[in-house]
């Protein structure tokens, strides 16, 4: 595979064909913040937090470094004032959904983002798609997917599949930057488990009307 040189933050970096900017930067020890990126998964480009300034063929562009391929002779800046401002707003927007996510709190600290800037819309999910993609691409179980669209889009387990596959896996849980995934799972589990069974699991006789939630 052919190798070439590009410049990232003033450093000469050797990259291989097919590498993204994030991957090329990583080989040189340059960290570009990411949220929806995962080494085992196909590039996705949902969160845009990895936005960098890239100059190629005389054009300066803002690109998502986790999907944009590194090119020969490209000049990339990963830490400019402009980028800091963009990332700050992105973090602020995501924090309207997930104000307590550890990764977001860290980024907020770094870019001086105000978690209360935008009206709260606590869905607790930033739609990074890590859970959905991990289940589809790595585990190939397709137990979780998206439903609806636009501002109403959310993740949802497929109860029939989740009931069979998830109990022994749950590998997606640690991937989620917020707590939305586990919440969605618990909800699915509750809805998919008939009350009598839940009562038995909870260890009560199920003769009361509490549906097992007292256990």
């Amino acid at each position: 595979m052919s190798e070439f040189v590009l410049q990232i933050d003033g450093k000469e970096v050797t990259a291989r064909e097919g590498m993204t900017i994030v991957e090329a930067a990583k080989t040189a020890g340059i960290r570009i913040p990411t949220l929806c990126h995962h080494d085992q998964l196909e590039p996705y480009g949902a969160c845009r937090i990895c936005t960098v300034e890239a100059e190629a063929n005389g054009r300066n562009q803002l690109v998502a470094a986790c999907v944009y391929p590194a090119e020969k002779g490209m000049v990339v800046q990963t830490k400019t004032e402009k980028l800091a401002k963009i990332r700050k707003v992105l973090v602020e927007q995501m924090m309207a959904h997930a104000p307590d996510a550890p990764q977001l709190l860290e980024l907020a600290e770094e870019y001086g983002a105000d978690r209360d800037r935008f009206d709260k819309d606590p869905s607790f999910c930033i739609l990074c798609g890590l859970c959905v993609r991990y289940c589809n691409e790595v585990k190939k179980k397709n137990a979780i997917g998206y439903i609806d669209r636009g501002p109403r889009r959310e993740i949802s387990f497929i109860p029939d599949v989740a009931g069979k596959e998830c109990w022994d896996c749950k590998e997606c849980f640690p991937l989620c930057p917020t707590s939305a995934l586990q919440a969605a799972y618990v909800l699915t589990e509750a809805l998919a488990t008939p009350p009598e069974e839940a009562a038995q699991e909870a260890g009560c006789a199920g003769s009361c009307s509490c549906s097992g939630s007292c256990g």
């Binding site: 589809n136 979780i144 997917g145 998206y146 609806d148 949802s156």
Partner: protein, 152 residues
């Protein structure tokens, strides 16, 4: 509501059970049943070998699909600006009264489903209501209820 699974199979076979025809197959099922019963979706998933999460993504994305039973007749009332100023709200109210359902609902006998839309592109005809694809323009509120009498 009973569903003829052989008919679903036939629709799937009409499209050679091709994955690329997924949306077309779903549209055909929707057209026939006015909604997408879970049984049918399970069958499509199985025969086309597409995961259910993809089917759910598609069926919840497009408004043309319904996950819940719909009536035999679909009523659409235009609430676009031109229809609005010409009394679309009163048309909608009369229809609601006559059918006893609100916009977005379906009656218990599965006769009518009522939806509002935001401009049908024929503002000169406003207020407009559409029943099963048939356009009724310049409807006075009183007429709206009469139109529905023609549907069983």
């Amino acid at each position: 509501m009973c569903m003829d699974i052989t008919r679903i199979d036939q629709i799937i076979d009409d499209h050679n059970a091709e994955q690329s025809s997924l949306i077309q197959i779903l549209l055909d099922i929707q057209a026939e049943h006015h909604w997408l019963p879970k049984q049918a979706l399970d069958r499509v998933a199985e025969k086309l070998d597409v995961p259910m999460n993809r089917i759910q993504h598609i069926t919840t994305f497009y408004k043309a699909f319904s996950q819940v039973p719909k009536g035999r007749h679909q009523i659409h009332v235009c609430m676009g600006t031109a229809c609005h100023v010409r009394g679309a709200q009163r048309v909608l109210d009369t229809i609601s009264d006559a059918t006893r359902i609100k916009a977005g609902e379906t009656d218990a006998e599965l006769k009518f489903s009522l939806e509002t839309v935001n401009c049908l592109g024929c503002c000169a005809l406003g207020p407009v209501m559409v029943v099963d694809g048939e356009y009724h323009g310049n409807v006075a509120p009183a007429q709206a209820a009469d139109v529905l009498k023609n549907y069983e």
